[in-house]
Symmetry: C2
Subunit: 138 residues, 2 copies
DNA sequence: GTCGTTGCAAAGCGTTTGCAGCCTA
DNA sequence: TAGGCTGCAAACGCTTTGCAACGAC
């Protein structure tokens, strides 16, 4: 059934060389470095089928486009940086939440989301702060 | 500045008489019982301004339209029913999650989402099951 | 009467789909 | 060569915006 195309090859490559969930746009941008003619529709179609065949897993965050990551990663939470918007994977345990389950509903799964500032943006902010301080001290 | 209109009056009323976060569509449907001519654009505009003035708070869930709820509710988690899609408020404490915060990022807030089957849908499913059992026994 | 507010329709925006041509097997 | 795959453009669904009429004060 499924044929091996250049497009698919490079979309796969993108996920094999990254460590965080990616949006369709991010995938397109990264894959286009290798096949410039790649269209966004092809990206959407392949993300969907990779997801259905179980190679990718959808990562959905509030008010954000659906991201995707490799399906075989260990259990983890997600962290989104308020500054750059990137989403990172955070180690965690599925049992962290058991005590929070209400009794009147049948809870079958949960999702934990963390928000704040990532290491990179924290460093950047510090640098700018120092730069500004330097300017101010002139 | 802000004028008292019938539209606003009834949109407010909707939130004062419900106990769970509502989508713009749900707000429209409920408010139209009192002002039939109400337009969806007016609902969006007012939800936005109520949110900005701090009377409402946005409740964002993955792959779902933004819902709104009264801003002065106690801290709680959200639970979405896989069957009916309704979102319910669940008691909880902001401290539940402290132990999950990673050290390499500046975590400033978190969100906990629970998914499963609500009491109403569980009851409904049981009823149907009994009905089917009854039919099967004929 | 002023100008904030509303309803309608059009515009946006991200995602999906129809279709003709392309390319894998 | 058959038919799955792709790129383009149109279609979609939800949300926002432009605009003329309306109505609160």
């Amino acid at each position: 059934m499924a044929r091996k195309t250049e497009q698919r090859r490079w979309i796969r490559h993108v996920f094999q060389t990254t460590e965080r969930p990616l949006t369709p746009q991010e995938v397109l941008t990264r894959a286009q470095r290798h096949i410039s003619g790649l269209g966004i529709a092809t990206v959407y179609r392949n993300l969907k089928s990779f997801n259905e065949e179980g190679w990718l897993k959808a990562v959905e965050l509030p008010a954000e486009p659906t991201r995707y990551e490799l399906a075989d990663l260990d259990y983890h939470h997600h962290f989104q940086c308020d500054d750059c918007g990137r989403v990172y994977n955070i180690p965690g345990s599925p049992n962290d939440m058991a005590s929070l389950y209400p009794e009147n509903y049948q809870v079958s799964r949960h999702q934990v989301l963390l928000y704040g500032q990532c290491a990179e943006c924290t460093a950047e902010a510090t640098t700018h702060h120092l730069e500004n301080a330097a300017v101010a001290s002139l």
